[in-house]
């Protein structure tokens, strides 16, 4: 078991013929992911990294039995790609693309939900169940199979924390990058219950940042419903208000979405928050979570 993906996931790549799409297709195949095909409108019939290319998502799903899609389509075309994916029969769409217009993301989200498809991202590194399946752009070698779940709004910061976990003997059940945009398909709140229910996850690390109130809403859920330990990290203590810190969604808009305010709310909900990256492991240990590998 794991969360959202395991070795059985059958994965399509939207935008497989592009530079990023083909590069990461090969990386995912090398990691062991079952890439069953790709989609680029107008390029059906080609082959990329040994995978057949289709014109539409529906065609691709019918031909391959895929249940997951990962999207590398450039932002101006992302809306159409997401709307194409909605009724195709997949259960999970992972949108890597950065810079999608907010209204496009909202519209696609509504359409995907209507068809029962979960959206991860956009503007995210994807997700990985170490040793089994990687759907995204994270470097596979820093991960190790184990029993810690990771949910994060960031890319490289997550890699940093994951490496720290791996080095200390804490492997991961599944690591999920939820994305740095203001509108994302899956929030901390949407994913925490999956880790709580997963018999292969002992504890969860939640990596948040300034902007919005996802972490605060999630903290209330953790306090009320989670029996597994949750440890937090919050980036942006030194971020000046009103400035967008790289991620479209990382902007302090008021008193409640600063890193300090969120840290306080998490700690009040019983979630210890690491001040330094190396503190994450220390806090897990303090909560009685043992290394699993």
């Amino acid at each position: 078991m794991s969360v959202l993906i395991d070795a059985n996931a059958r994965v399509l790549v939207q935008g497989i013929t592009g530079r990023d799409g083909s590069f990461h297709t090969q990386q995912m195949i090398d990691y062991g992911t079952r890439i069953v095909g790709g989609v680029t409108p107008g390029k059906g019939g080609q082959t990329v990294c040994g995978a057949p290319v289709f014109n539409t998502m529906r065609e691709a799903v019918v031909a391959t039995g895929a249940d997951v899609s990962v999207m590398y389509v450039p932002a101006p075309f992302a809306r159409n790609a997401m709307l194409d994916a909605a009724p195709s029969g997949i259960r999970l769409l992972v949108a890597i693309t950065e810079g999608i217009p907010t209204l496009d993301a909202l519209e696609a989200y509504e359409e995907l939900v209507t068809h029962g498809v979960r959206l991860l991202g956009p503007n995210c590194p994807g997700l990985i169940t170490p040793g089994a399946c990687k759907v995204g752009i994270m470097p596979g070698f820093i991960h190790a199979p184990g029993r810690i779940g990771v949910i994060s709004r960031s890319g490289t910061l997550t890699y940093e924390i994951v490496k720290e976990l791996t080095d200390a003997g804490y492997g991961q059940s599944t690591c999920i990058g939820i994305g740095g945009d203001p509108i994302i398909g899956s929030s901390f709140l949407d994913l925490l219950p999956l880790f709580q229910a997963d018999p292969d996850t002992d504890a969860v690390v939640m990596v948040g940042e300034i902007g919005g109130n996802d972490e605060v809403v999630a903290a209330a859920y953790v306090q009320a419903h989670m029996t597994k330990p949750v440890v937090g990290f919050m980036a942006g203590l030194t971020a000046p208000p009103g400035r967008r810190m790289g991620h479209a969604g990382a902007i302090v808009g008021g008193e409640d979405d600063t890193a300090a305010a969120k840290t306080a709310r998490l700690e009040a909900a019983g979630i210890p928050v690491a001040k330094l990256i190396s503190d994450v492991v220390r806090l897990l240990r303090a909560r009685g979570v043992e290394p699993s590998r």
């Binding site: 907010t102 209204l103 994270m138 960031s154 490289t156 203590l237 190396s278």
Partner: protein, 380 residues
């Protein structure tokens, strides 16, 4: 992307949202000429990309030419939250019977567009929402319905703003038009504060605020042409042009990081060990060496910078690319400050090998790097 009130007023007119006439002035004489055309009293309003103009003295009601000249000259001398006033508008003063607040934006947690209304205007809506949430009306709308709101939706919402049915009906029409404007122009905010009923019973937007979604500007060249370069942060624009994300701060330890979250965490760690970050800088995912050189150029322009901390966790970013960028930077800027580097991830051996024998100090972890940088001249 923010635009000025006078530009937002023009957009309102384009969409049929009633606004009083205005004239734009760049000098006191122009303001007087415009005021004489409208007839007194008129309002003078500073045009800057900042809220709180009234509190900062950027708005004045004037009743004759002499007063207009004096007040306009005073407003042109103001710097509001860092923005010098270069433009003001002259607009006939309205007689206000009732003020309200109306805006539409995207609600992150509801993942919908939301109209926000209040039957008091001129308020700071965040403060009202916090202190008296019962005064705030909300209407959440799936984005697909935003450009096609039903008259019933609009009217029932507008009735929360104005008790008088005639006023509410006019406000309802404005709600519908704001929805169209929001969708068609890919806005991130459309706000009217205050929306007023005047003494003649007309509902009019006395202020206009519009901001666009930066990610959607590629399909709105007409919106891009409204950009006021003088109001934008020069550093940020330059960085954007180079494919970087950069924000200048006041400390002495410059940082160069790949990834926004890690860049923030790097700044936080510097602060934690007693230093003070000089900037936020994300060199992005794909690491061409040219970007590193551009990053050095922007960092070294700041005389406060005493040391540079480079923190790279290579994923898509390749450590050897970063190292090549650093080598060219060392040639281009030979006399620069001490540099501490922490280089981990894809092609790390190759990257470190390239930098052997240079004057860089190596650190194994971010925390070690931050401590070393602080020691090398960055202590706050």
């Amino acid at each position: 992307m923010k635009i000025h009130e006078f530009q937002a007023r023009d957009l309102f007119r384009e969409y049929g949202i009633p606004v009083p006439p205005h004239a734009v002035a760049h000098a006191p004489e122009e303001a007087v000429r415009a005021a004489e055309t409208f007839g007194y009293p008129v309002a003078l309003k500073a045009q800057v990309h900042s809220g709180g103009r009234g509190k900062a003295g950027g708005v004045a009601i004037v009743r004759n030419a002499e007063q207009t000249e004096t007040e306009a000259a005073r407003i042109f001398g103001l710097v509001i939250k860092g923005f010098p006033v270069r433009t003001l508008i002259v607009t006939p003063a309205s007689s206000i019977a009732q003020e309200a607040y109306l805006s539409v934006l995207v609600d992150r947690s509801a993942r919908k567009a939301v109209f926000i209304g209040c039957n008091e205007g001129g308020v700071e809506i965040e403060v009202t929402a916090r202190q008296t949430p019962e005064k705030i009306a909300r209407l959440e709308i799936p984005v697909r319905r935003l450009a096609a709101l039903t008259p019933e939706d609009c009217l029932s919402f507008a009735s929360c703003l104005f008790a008088d049915p005639a006023h509410a009906a006019q406000a309802a029409a404005i709600v519908a038009k704001m929805g169209s404007l929001f969708v068609e122009k890919d806005c991130s905010l459309v706000e009217i504060n205050p929306l007023i009923a005047d003494a003649d019973g007309r509902v009019v937007a006395l202020d206009a605020k519009v901001a666009f979604d930066d990610n959607a500007l590629f399909r709105h060249p007409e919106s891009l042409s409204l950009r006021d370069m003088e109001s934008e942060d020069g550093d940020e624009l330059e960085a954007k042009g180079e494919g970087l994300s950069f924000i200048r701060l006041t400390g002495s330890i410059a940082c160069m990081v790949n990834g926004a979250g890690l860049a923030m965490a790097t700044m936080d760690t510097i602060k934690h060990v007693g230093g003070d970050p000089a900037n936020f800088l994300d060199v992005g995912g794909s690491s061409n060496p040219h970007k590193v050189v551009a990053a050095f150029r922007m960092i070294l322009r700041d005389p406060n910078v005493k040391v540079i901390l480079i923190n790279i966790f290579g994923g898509i970013t390749r450590c050897d690319d970063i190292a090549r960028g650093i080598l060219s930077s060392l040639e281009n800027f030979p006399a620069s400050v001490p540099i501490v580097i922490r280089l981990v991830g894809t092609n790390q051996e190759e990257g470190r090998r390239l930098l052997e024998g240079t004057r860089l100090s190596f650190a194994k972890t971010l925390e070690e790097g931050a401590a070393l940088a602080t020691k090398l001249g960055g202590a706050a």
